[in-house]
């Protein structure tokens, strides 16, 4: 009986996924290939991938990561390094080309096919995730948050000041605020090159495939032994350890997997925006992604998808396009866009106080989060360390 309901539950997710992705896949047919709306959908797709990654670390394993932007940065820079003319004089100015597209294969610098870039990004970012996770293994709670935040800021500093760091033949680590550009467009074997100047829709379908893959991996991971171990750690680390959950391995895998998704998304965004600029990687972005998963529901996969799409559209459409003039209409002299992070801050504050389980809560996590919230005669929980 249990197996049956479990299977039904899985099928429900499968049906939902097929319906959602199917509808989404047909959507671009009705959109202008170059419109802002298409662009907004593509960005939203990339943010969904990122939010699902952070959800593994924060939602499943309960490790608050405030430096998630680091993985976005490293993923984007992987594209910047391996799919542009950044290392322009390598190989006697002839460049290195592996599966590069028609146009890129005549340019100097390293040019890998985007699929290879993604693979490299996953490896580099996964390792970076473990390295950043390693020092936090002994820590708990808010200390993890601060250490990850510190790493995020250190990586941001390296991104901004990377043009001062040179190695080998005077190659810069990054171009700082100057941006590494242009980055190669995606060129898939069998599909030809994408060209964002003529048609954005291939990017849309590409990011949709990414979302589908990441969703699949997320569901499978959640229901796997590893996923249960993450949830066990989140609920009670000591109990999990005494039940035989290997803490070090399990936590590091959470960091690495979560980071890898961030890296994939970063690599995609780097290629899609055709430039990698340091100021994209500010602390605020970590909070932006965190706000997505909190709004949707910590630990709830569908909730996170919803939260990411919602916040992405609030950020790229509602604030700048729809409500931007509102303060002027009220007689105030500013644009709403300068307040976007305040709006996100307000959202996470409100959600956390009034509905900590988020819009589409996951049952188990909701129980943990709402337990004791709003009890007026505040009781102190004296938990054993």
């Amino acid at each position: 009986m249990n197996a049956l309901t479990a299977r039904l539950g899985q099928n429900k997710n499968l049906v939902a996924a097929v319906v959602c992705l199917g509808v989404a896949a047909l959507l671009p047919l009705f959109l202008d290939p170059l419109s802002n709306v298409t662009d907004n959908f593509i960005t939203a797709g990339a943010y969904v991938v990122m939010a699902l990654g952070l959800n593994i670390v924060v939602g499943f394993a309960g490790l608050l990561d405030l430096g998630y932007v680091a993985f976005y940065a490293i993923g984007a820079y992987t594209t910047g390094w391996f799919a542009s003319d950044h290392f322009s004089s390598i190989n006697g100015e002839k460049g290195i080309h592996i599966g590069a597209g028609e146009f890129a294969s005549h340019l100097p610098g390293i040019h890998l096919n985007f699929l290879l870039v993604m693979l490299v990004a996953v490896i580099i970012v996964g390792i970076a995730g473990m390295l950043i996770g390693l020092p936090t293994l002994r820590l708990r709670g808010d200390y993890i948050a601060i250490v990850t935040l510190a790493f995020g800021e250190i990586i941001y500093r390296f991104a901004v000041n990377g043009d001062e760091i040179t190695f080998a033949d005077g190659y810069k680590l990054t171009n700082g605020r100057q941006a590494i550009a242009p980055v190669d467009a995606i060129d898939l074997p069998g599909f030809g090159g994408f060209d964002s100047a003529f048609d954005l829709r291939p990017y849309f379908w590409f990011v949709l495939v990414l979302v589908a893959l990441v969703l699949f991996v997320n569901f499978r991971l959640r229901d796997s032994r590893l996923g249960r171990a993450w949830i066990a750690i989140r609920e009670d680390e000591v109990a999990a350890a005494s039940m035989g959950v290997p803490l070090v391995k399990t936590k590091l895998l959470a960091y690495a997997t979560g980071a890898a998704f961030g890296g994939i998304s970063g690599a995609f965004l780097g290629s899609y925006q055709a430039s990698v600029q340091a100021d994209q990687f500010k602390f605020g972005f970590s909070i932006f992604v965190l706000a997505m998963i909190i709004l949707g529901g910590l630990g709830s996969i569908w909730g996170v998808v919803l939260g990411a799409v919602l916040l992405s559209f609030i950020n790229t459409y509602f604030i700048p396009d729809v409500f931007n003039g509102v303060p002027h209409k009220l007689g105030l002299d500013f644009d709403l866009t300068i307040l976007n992070f305040g709006i996100f801050g307000f959202l996470i504050l409100i959600v956390m106080v009034l509905r900590p389980q988020g819009l589409l809560p996951e049952r188990r996590r909701a129980m943990e989060l709402t337990e004791g919230v709003g009890v007026d005669d505040a009781t102190f929980e004296v938990r054993a360390p």
Partner: protein
């Protein structure tokens, strides 16, 4: 505050005390590495230590401001084991309030000493009150409803609040740094000891911080409310059973922390002669590093940590390049959190495992 309920490692075992000594002196060695290295290179290249001396003077006075902010972190952490992430922004609002008052009080450069001192005192008191009340309000809105929720929840609301306050700053004075009148002529050299210069600003920073710290420690160790705070820090449940109003005590702690941040805000204004909505984020994280360095929950530790981090920050600003300063400070933060989370003079806490 220092006597946290956390279980300290069993004393007396040789290996434990050895490890304890190794990590404490290790931290001190790491902290000394940079200045000692610079001292040697300075002596070798210029034959004098005045540069380093100047760095340290500026560092200490800068550190005094960080110490005031760090005290707020450590007070709150000591009592409810929560990192008040919005504290840096409270400090920033303190600067903004003080700056607003300057205009209203008619303070300007080159005015008479008596008027200036009185005006600044009034501005400081008002900024302290506003920040104290703001901090209490943050506690009521963002932390109190979540007191028994998982640790994640109040930290997230704290981050949310800090973004809201930053945007208040943006609306108030715009999104780029602005310079403010140099009321106290802060870079005027007051004293020159063999090339090491002490400025007006340095004297002021110490002259304001020292009495405030003294008042705070006296308040906590002598007054009834201070006693209640210490009791609540040790064991909130037992404290309530003893008739202490825990909620009031916690609010009081936030009030004190906010007031110190307000004072720091005014000092920062006089000292840096600039104001920016983002100043609270960086200063808050640096001050938090200071609190952790000293041992979070420990008042003396926060002051010590603040002074040390001020020196590190100055040295990094001066010798490595200001654009790398935050990276250097955060590298120290990570090192300390990983290898000696209890800090220089703190004890083992729950977070530090």
């Amino acid at each position: 505050m220092s006597s946290d309920a956390a279980t300290a490692a069993p004393e007396g075992r040789l290996s434990n005390s050895l490890r304890e000594a190794a990590s404490r002196y290790g931290l001190i060695a790491v902290l000394l590495a940079l200045p000692v290295y610079l001292a040697i290179t300075d002596l070798a290249s210029k034959g004098t230590l005045t540069d380093l001396g100047n760095n340290l003077v500026l560092g200490l006075s800068n550190g005094a401001i960080f110490a005031l902010i760090a005290l707020g972190y450590t007070l709150v952490y000591g009592i409810i084991e929560l990192i008040n992430f919005a504290h840096g922004e409270v400090f920033m609002i303190g600067s903004f309030v003080a700056f607003g008052l300057w205009g209203n009080l008619g303070l300007h450069e080159g005015m008479g000493t008596v008027g200036l001192v009185l005006g600044l005192l009034a501005a400081m008191l008002l900024a302290m009150c506003v920040c104290g009340v703001l901090n209490v309000m943050i506690e009521r809105v963002a932390y109190k409803p979540l007191r028994s929720a998982p640790k994640l929840a109040p930290l997230i609301t704290a981050v949310g609040f800090s973004f809201i306050l930053q945007n208040v700053g943006v609306l108030w004075l715009g999104s780029s740094p602005a310079s403010v009148p140099d009321l106290v002529d802060q870079s005027h050299v007051l004293l020159d000891v063999g090339g090491v210069r002490i400025h007006n600003g340095d004297l002021l920073a110490i002259a304001v911080t020292a009495p405030l710290v003294f008042l705070l420690t006296t308040f906590i160790s002598r007054s009834r409310l201070g006693k209640a705070m210490r009791a609540t820090a040790q064991d909130p449940d037992a404290a309530r059973l003893m008739g202490i109003n825990v909620n009031t005590t916690i609010s009081m702690t936030f009030l004190l922390g906010g007031m110190l941040a307000g004072a720091a805000g005014l000092m920062n204004l006089l000292y840096q002669t600039s104001i920016w909505y983002f100043q609270g984020f960086t200063a808050g994280l640096i001050a938090f590093t200071a609190a952790v360095m000293g041992g979070i929950g420990n008042l003396k530790g926060a002051v010590l940590g603040g002074l040390i981090i001020g020196c590190i920050q100055q040295i990094a600003d001066n010798r490595i390049g200001a654009e790398w300063t935050t990276a250097v400070v955060f590298a120290y933060l990570v090192l300390i959190m990983v290898f000696r989370p209890q800090g220089l003079i703190g004890e083992v806490t729950r977070e530090a495992g």
